[in-house]
């Protein structure tokens, strides 16, 4: 024990030199694969689309794991914010459409993307009277209301959503004059033309990596500590000066913004914004809410890398199986009522949830940690 506890100016200590070369090499290799993925897939655009869908899942799941895992709040409202994000993007960047009865502000797409995320954050913030007061499962069920509300609003506000029959096309994304569309001639990387889908891949990749780093940074900083404190003991968090209701509302707001970004990407991925016809099947349905929850659970609650792994399983598997079905004729023998890629994936992730809770509450993240045998809980 030292004798003094009086604050003394501390020289800024040099960054910890505990470099883990194996880890760095692994990350570098992964980055190389991701960057060259469009080259690897070449003309097989279906693989690229599958990859894009996983990246969308990464953005959404990272946001949800902050809320569910770090802040200890349950939410089933993710699809609602996907919908708000997608529609907001289309409204902010879009035009009146062929029939002329759509609302479209014609803003630059980048502005519209940022605006859509901001709108989702604000809507999430407006939910603060609920998200800041309720705990855990109560919030989970309360948040389900947003999915039903979204379904209703999407169906009734045709001028915004484009309606359930035709929907509306999201405007082509564009950054400083560079369009994420097919062009002639197109730039090439190692002989592979970088067209619309390749460009979108890079857009999604940059956003997914950005989301990952932002979330990881937040988890390691003041805001993450406050969330965990509220999750584990509200009284203690309060005594340390954390405003509990605000911390909860803030986590919900942040999570909504991530979901909003995933919504914008979903619109670009589908090349369509179209509200669902019912609450149980569709792009913004309860099934999707459960899918996102599954990602977060399978990955390990609160773990950012885990959320990524969960997104690969939940969003990647059906895509991969669908590719298998079209390319190699898997499930060919199955008619109506048979096994389908979506069904098999649902079985896999349903079972994965059960197994994780039964045998490995830390999820894939814990398994990963054990494999690389690193001490401590960095989350």
């Amino acid at each position: 024990m030292s004798d003094t506890l009086v604050e003394t100016p501390v020289p800024v200590e040099p960054a910890r030199k505990r470099r883990n070369w194996a880890k760095i090499a692994g990350v570098a290799a992964l980055l190389v694969v991701l960057v060259f993925f469009p080259v690897i897939t070449g003309t097989e655009v279906a693989y690229l689309k599958a990859g894009q869908y996983v990246l969308i899942g990464v953005v959404g799941a990272v946001g949800l794991t902050l809320l569910v895992g770090q802040a200890g709040q349950l939410s089933l409202a993710h699809p609602f914010f996907l919908l708000v994000g997608a529609v907001s993007y289309a409204v902010l960047a879009g035009d009146a459409g062929e029939s002329g009865d759509l609302v479209g502000l014609g803003l630059p797409p980048l502005v519209a993307m940022i605006g859509a995320v901001a709108i989702c954050a604000l809507v999430g913030l407006a939910f603060a009277p609920v998200s800041g007061r309720l705990r855990g499962i109560y919030l989970g069920v309360a948040s389900l209301s947003l999915v039903f509300l979204g379904l209703y609003l999407g169906q009734s506000l045709d001028m915004l959503s484009g309606g359930t029959s035709s929907g509306r096309p999201p405007p082509t994304f564009e950054v400083f004059g560079f369009r994420f569309a097919n062009t002639e001639p197109a730039p090439t990387i190692m002989g592979v033309a970088i067209q619309k889908q390749q460009r979108l891949w890079y857009l999604f990749l940059v956003i997914a990596i950005g989301s990952y780093l932002l979330a990881r940074g937040a988890v390691r900083s003041r805001v993450g500590r406050a969330w965990r404190a509220v999750r584990d003991n509200e009284a203690a968090a309060t005594a340390m000066g954390v405003r509990v209701w605000w911390s909860k509302a803030q986590a919900f707001t942040v999570s909504s913004a991530f979901a909003g970004m995933a919504g914008v990407l979903t619109a670009l991925w589908l090349d369509l914004v179209k509200p669902d016809e019912n609450e149980f099947i569709g792009t913004y349905s309860i099934t999707v809410a459960i899918g996102y929850l599954a990602m977060v659970l399978i990955g390990g609650l609160g773990s950012i890398p885990g959320a990524v792994a969960g997104a690969v399983v939940v969003n990647g598997l059906p895509q991969l199986l669908t590719l298998g079905a079209t390319e190699f004729g898997w499930f060919a023998s199955a008619g109506a009522g048979g096994l389908s890629p979506v069904l098999v994936s649902a079985f896999v992730y349903g079972a994965a949830i059960v197994l994780v809770v039964l045998f490995e509450p830390g999820g894939l993240a814990a398994i990963g940690r054990r494999l690389t045998s690193r001490q401590g809980d960095r989350r």
Partner: protein
């Protein structure tokens, strides 16, 4: 006025069904503190057995089998999964039931294939006219069955050995154990009972009268409405579940008529939100889900 009375009667009938489901949630929650997200799949299991055996056993036999199978399914979830996850906290167990729900729902929907059958043969689609009112017979039968079952439940909860044990356990698990109450039997009975109630509920849910939607994902989605019913009443209150069920049934019926059919489900959830903002533990809930 007649329209209004009709709506109230139909709303109460629906509410009775929601009350049966919500009561199941609450019984399970009181016994194990687990929120059972797999309740909708118990409904589907019951309905599926009715559908599959109706031709062979006749409706009554099939209905009995459906109720039993939903009860057994609930018991299996409890015995095989919940009791084996001793290390998991109650919130993780709630999430586990989501996994179960995904698997069961997908499997039953796959088995049903293109069929979306109705399972309420004796009373479905036979509207009843009296005193100038037109009432769906399904809702009327549901209301009567609901009243009988809920009364029976409260009597049992109050006076039977199980009821006393169950209430003692919900109050204080350790003390109940010291008094020789076998926690595992109480818990198993709770799940069995909740499953049976879900099995009864589906007999009214997958009908022409109730929703127009046959057995399938739609039924599962209707079962979700029982969530607001249980939550707004207070997850640990049996009385709250019944009141919540009726509020939800009436809200749905009235908003469908006076606002729009599409809005009716949102209306239910909005009513729940308002109640939760004012009473974060629901109308009759006595404690918050997680403690400081």
């Amino acid at each position: 006025m007649n329209t209004f009375l009709q709506l109230v009667l139909n709303g109460l009938g629906k509410g009775a069904v929601y009350a049966l489901l919500a009561l199941g949630f609450v019984i399970i929650f009181k016994a194990t503190e687990v929120v059972n997200f797999a309740h909708g799949s118990l409904v589907l299991i019951g309905g599926y057995f009715v559908y599959a055996t109706k031709d062979a056993l006749g409706w009554a036999g099939a209905a009995a089998l459906g109720i039993v199978s939903a009860a057994v399914a609930a018991l299996l979830i409890e015995r095989l999964l919940i009791t084996n996850a001793r290390n998991a906290d109650v919130n993780s167990l709630a999430l586990l039931t989501i996994g179960v729900d995904v698997i069961v729902t997908e499997e039953i929907v796959r088995r049903l294939g293109a069929d979306i059958p109705f399972v309420g043969d004796p009373y479905d689609a036979l509207p009843l006219q009296f005193a100038g009112l037109t009432v769906f017979r399904t809702q009327l039968v549901a209301l009567i069955v609901g009243i009988v079952l809920i009364t029976a439940f409260f009597l049992a909860f109050r006076f039977s050995t199980w009821g006393v044990a169950m209430r003692a356990q919900a109050e204080n698990k350790e003390a109940a154990a010291l008094m020789g109450i076998r926690s595992s039997r109480v818990t198993a009975t709770a799940w069995l009972l909740a499953g049976a109630l879900a099995g009864v509920a589906v007999l009214f849910m997958a009908t022409q009268d109730f929703s127009g939607a046959g057995l399938g994902r739609g039924t599962h989605a209707i079962a979700l409405i029982a969530f607001p019913a249980a939550i707004l009443g207070g997850l640990d209150s049996t009385v709250g579940a019944v009141v919540g069920g009726l509020i939800v049934g009436l809200t749905e019926a009235l908003s469908a008529q006076y606002i729009s059919f599409e809005f009716s489900k949102s209306a239910v959830f909005l009513v729940m939100l308002v109640i939760l903002v004012i009473w974060p533990s629901g109308l009759f809930g006595t404690r918050e889900l997680s403690r400081v």
